[in-house]
Amino acid sequence: MDSQTYLEINNLNKFYDKHHALDNVSLNISVGEIVGLLGPNGAGKSTTMKIVTGNLSSSSGDVLIDDINIVQQPTKTKTQLGYLPEVPPLYKELTVYEFLILASKLKKIPKKNITASVESTIEMCGLREVRKKLISNLSKGFQQRVGIAQAIVHNPKLVVLDEPTVGLDPNQVVQIRELIKKISKNKAILFSSHILSEVEAICNRVYILNFGKIIYSANIKKLTDNLLNSFQFEFTNKFDESIIVEKFPKSKINIINQFSFSLENVDQLMINKLLILGIENNWGLTKMIPLKESLEKIFTSLTKNK
């Protein structure tokens, strides 16, 4: 166990009557990391997050925050926890300022620090112009920001965000992403989405969930690093795999079908070689695609037809 691991989920199971919603889910997050939880709708992302934040009980398995079991010491663990569910939990009759004061009190911020915390959170989330406004009078984007604000006002070490950018316009989405990145210093952030590009953009690591099981986990940086200089080649005619293997013994070849394959760590020399090969053998190169969306491919290939 990494000494810096802040959130640890071990063999989490959840049954709704006969339906096995979560099947032996295990994951961990360290301070300073933004970890993404990916999966199609119904995969169990929200369920996992609800269990971590004390909104749902598990059938078996445990959740440890800073090595403390959340079931045995709920009060202690929850002071370091901030949660933004799919629907932000906003009391619409209050103003932004009143609401954040309430959230501070609920999270047991010491009285003398409340005003300072609220003010700094308002600044950080860009809520200065709307602080005196009633939450019901705010736009969706601002409401989402207030939602994030209540999750961080007490400066928790663990922040859990459930699809925080859903329903926002592109500008707002960018703003939220910036905000998340900004607050991620000294925090462990668990963040769920079904928008892959978003996960790619923000997260350090990703877990893919499907039908309650973790089917894939990877470090994004490593993934993208690996995917740098990877190309997919498409031909009109069938190519000869043996020639490729012979010519590029060190490269990792991924055969997609009879007409296309991908290569990792492709440099200019290799491209030239391939072009010549293609012309020589009359394969008929039609496309050369840089593999930036391979996460999507991984995702779709892992999650479809199951």
Binding site: K50, T53, G54, N55, L56, S57, P74, T75, K76, K78, T79, L81, G82, Y83, P85, V87, P89, L90, Y91, K92, E93, L94, E98, L102, A103, K105, L106, K107, K108, Q150
Partner: protein, 245 residues
């Protein structure tokens, strides 16, 4: 922590104009009853000396207002409690509470005490209003205090029932309807049970209140209301806890 919830609920109550309208309407009703009873008393005042055991000012003027208050409470308490848990469910604000270091007991007690506070304004208003007669005659303060105690206990009971009903649904309207329904049944039981010897009299809610109107504070009546309040709150806590399953 109970204080946080308590003040938050009170704030939400008092920034809503509906609460002020409710207060105003109730006060109109009480004042109307009060003044008509004062009128009545003044007209029969001189006959009282001739009666063998005459009722006093307090019995004729003050007690009926408290009596009306108890009936009005049957209508008001569902309105007060309807939002308590059902609105949280509807607006999905429960996750904020569940992910905070606060127990369900504290949440329930905070909400309960906030509506208790609001409901206790009614007997206090009545007490103050009827005490104004003190300047012109003698009042039986002990009797009035007994009525206030009775109203407070009755409110706590009705409010706890309302909170429980509110925890069962995510629609405040349904919660209010449920509350009205239950209170209507309670009222009908009260009307049906005239004979003190029957079983129905012994479990009827409002009949246990009527002893307070006489100035007699029975141990069994106090226990009755406390037990019901306790059980209803217990059931509420259990129900909310079950939301997590």
């Amino acid at each position: 922590m109970i204080r946080t919830i308590f003040f938050k609920e009170l704030k939400i109550l008092f920034v809503s104009p509906l609460s002020w309208i409710m207060l105003g309407l109730m006060q109109i009703i009480f004042a109307w009853i009060f003044f008509s009873r004062v009128d009545y008393f003044l007209s029969i005042q001189f006959q009282l000396g001739r009666m063998s055991s005459p009722p006093g000012i307090t019995e004729i003027v003050n007690i009926p207002v408290f009596g009306v208050c108890s009936i009005v409470l049957l209508v008001i308490t569902p309105l007060l409690t309807m939002r308590l848990f059902s609105e949280e469910k509807k607006n999905q604000t429960l996750p904020l509470l569940f992910s905070s270091p606060i127990s369900i007991l504290e949440i329930t007690m905070g909400k309960f005490l906030s509506v208790m506070f609001f409901a206790s304004l009614f007997p206090i208003l009545i007490f103050l209003m009827t005490s104004s007669l003190m300047f012109g005659g003698n009042l039986d303060l002990g009797l009035m205090i007994s009525c206030v105690i009775g109203i407070l206990l009755l409110s706590s009971c009705l409010l706890s029932i309302g909170i429980f009903i509110s925890s069962l649904t995510s629609s405040p309207i349904v919660a209010a309807m449920g509350g009205f329904g239950i209170n209507l049944i309670l009222w009908l039981i009260n009307i049906a049970s005239e004979d003190p010897e029957t079983f129905i009299y012994k479990v009827s809610l409002i009949n246990h209140f009527e002893n307070f109107l006489d100035g007699t504070v029975y141990v069994k009546d106090i226990l009755y209301f406390i037990i019901i309040t306790f059980f209803m709150l217990l059931l509420t806590i259990k129900k909310i806890n079950n939301e997590r399953f």
